[in-house]
């Protein structure tokens, strides 16, 4: 495995660990963009990071930051700041560290699955979707002034939308895609009449076809135990994982002819176009569509 030469990928920030899972003095080995790295939590809590070549420390990673209880790293020169999520740290919601989960596919496939609604009835039958109601109503997609991709007015009927809920209800979703490998859901909270619950995914691309998903929740649910919330999230994510590993090719095709979208794929279409314009190479397939 070799560190990528894709500068666009290298010059961005990525989560590589949850701070609270990195005990003082402990070393954590992982890989980012094809480069082996080692993280160490200092005695003062500040993490440091080195690039590892052939098992030996090779270069100190200059850009290491702790934000939102996660450790962020940039292997190049950061082209922009770490994403701003004002809701984290704001009072009221409960912050849940949802643990890292590995997926043997490209980070982009994971992101696309995360903001897709039309699989709920089939992959998450009984929770996020049911076989009775499979239709996905139209929603809006736009790229905002700050370059972030958003989908709003998404709705879906869910038999069991979260750990807190017992019966079926229509859930409203907004999706925010602030970076190519990051997505945040704002969804109707069953525990609050006006405010949203928030679920965020920060995907660490280990290689082009392998990644680690770091995730957090910001929930109004003050009643369910951490374990109950985690079991629900892990159940949903593992279900997604069981389809993600069977999507071949693993890299996300950007050329439109290879994979045929439909109306409910509006955000996916926009995401692929957005990635195409960004010039990102890592994890995507830019070849002309092969004959089907």
């Amino acid at each position: 495995m070799m560190k990528t030469t894709d500068q666009i990928a290298l010059n961005d920030w990525y989560v590589v660990a949850a701070l609270s899972n990195l005990a003082a003095g402990q070393t954590h080995q992982t890989r980012l963009l094809g480069q082996n790295i080692s993280l160490k939590a200092g005695a003062d809590g500040r993490p440091t990071c080195v690039e590892i070549d052939a098992g030996q420390p090779a270069r100190v990673v200059e850009h290491v930051v702790v934000r939102y209880d996660f450790v962020w790293v940039c292997l190049g020169q950061p082209s922009r700041d770490i994403v701003d999520i004002p809701e984290i740290g704001a009072p009221g919601r409960r912050f849940i560290q949802r643990g890292r989960i590995g997926v043997a596919t490209s980070a982009q496939r994971v992101i696309e699955n995360f903001f897709d609604l039309s699989h709920f009835s089939f992959v998450h039958t009984g929770t996020l979707g049911g076989m009775d109601v499979t239709e996905v109503p139209p929603y809006s997609v736009n790229v905002r002034e700050n370059g972030e991709l958003w989908a709003t007015e998404c709705r879906f009927f869910q038999p069991k939308a979260s750990a807190a809920i017992a019966g079926g209800v229509e859930i409203a979703y907004n999706y925010r895609v602030p970076r190519p490998l990051m997505a945040i859901i704002y969804k109707t909270s069953p525990s609050h009449s006006t405010e949203n619950d928030i679920i965020g995914l920060f995907v660490q691309p280990r290689d082009e076809t392998d990644c680690v998903v770091h995730s957090f929740g910001l929930m109004w649910d003050a009643v369910s135990s951490d374990a109950a919330l985690l079991h629900f999230f892990h159940e949903v994510f593992a279900q997604d994982r069981s389809v993600l590993i069977h999507q071949l090719p693993k890299k996300l095709p950007l050329m439109p002819r290879r994979e045929i979208p439909t109306h409910s794929d509006a955000l996916s279409i926009a995401y692929r176009r957005w990635l195409d314009k960004s010039g990102l190479q890592f994890g995507v397939d830019r070849e002309t569509a092969k004959a089907a």
Partner: protein, 288 residues
């Protein structure tokens, strides 16, 4: 390659008919292509590229309802012609014609399902060597060896399996003769129970047919070789004619033993002899 030739115009076996019941969906590989093989509730077979045209999910993890194949990711339903009939996210929508699975020619014959990766050159698979006997499938077994090696091993080391034997039989003591007649390679083995004649037709997908001396009490069998990948194959073992469960179990055991020895047998002097005999034959071009 002279034996186990892989091409785009021949029929290759992918599964025994009895191993694909109505409503069954399974994955298969042919020459590195990932396929989904399925049978509708009414018995109609399909061999498609194992990729949903929507978001490239493996269709082999899907299911049939009635006459359609349903993708497990978003529930898209495909008819037997490969066209998408229904998109659950938009139930009233007529799906685009572009939303089509790649359908390969498939045929059910001689108790097997065969597929062609391109335009078939003939209406039926070529299995003349069965000499009018109907293959009764015993088992399909995958091996980590390429199709040519597998065919050569089967020709040079026939399965010795007597249904009444209580332990493993010794292999034939002698490779007595090896002849190339036209495109048919015939190898005669001399063993404890008499002669065994093994034959294969070159230039076509490998079907190795072995006929032991009738006096020996062993039954004739065929091994159809499916080239799954560059270095892998599946062996479809079948009795030629009817046989008891004991006979079928005996042949299966012999095949499993062969698989365990595959590495050594691939280097054996007998295999080299058979390979050399085949070397004299030139594969005609598909245009002639």
């Amino acid at each position: 390659m002279r034996i186990g030739a892989v091409n785009l115009w021949s029929w290759y076996p992918v599964v025994a008919s009895s191993d694909l019941q109505a409503g069954a969906v399974m994955p298969a590989m042919l020459h590195g292509e990932r396929l989904v093989v399925w049978r509708s509730r009414e018995g109609r077979i399909g061999v498609w590229n194992d990729r949903c045209p929507h978001r490239s999910m493996s269709l082999s993890l899907g299911a049939t309802t009635g006459e359609t194949l349903v993708c497990p990711y978003h529930g898209w339903e495909f008819g037997s012609d490969g066209n998408c009939r229904r998109i659950p996210a938009h139930p009233a929508l007529t799906p685009s014609r572009a939303a089509r699975a790649r359908v390969y020619p498939a045929i059910e014959a001689a108790n097997y399902i065969w597929a062609c990766l391109g335009e078939p050159a003939s209406a039926q698979p070529e299995y003349g060597l069965f000499a009018g006997l109907v293959p009764e499938p015993i088992r399909s077994m995958h091996v980590r060896a390429d199709a040519e090696t597998v065919a050569l091993v089967l020709l040079s080391h026939p399965l010795v399996a007597h249904p009444l034997a209580t332990k493993a039989e010794r292999p034939p003591a002698e490779l007595a003769d090896c002849q190339l007649n036209g495109d048919i390679l015939a190898v005669t083995h001399a063993g404890e129970r008499g002669h065994i004649l093994c034959r294969a037709r070159l230039g076509l997908p490998s079907i190795v047919v072995c006929q032991p001396d009738p006096a020996s009490g062993s039954l004739p069998y065929a091994a159809l070789v499916q080239p799954t990948g560059e270095d892998t194959a599946a062996i479809h073992l079948a009795l030629l004619g009817n046989g008891t469960p004991a006979a079928r179990l005996a042949l299966n055991s012999a095949l499993v033993r062969l698989r365990h020895r595959m590495g050594d047998l691939a280097e054996s002097a007998w295999l080299l002899k058979v390979r050399n005999a085949a070397a004299g034959w030139a594969q005609p071009s598909p245009m002639t």
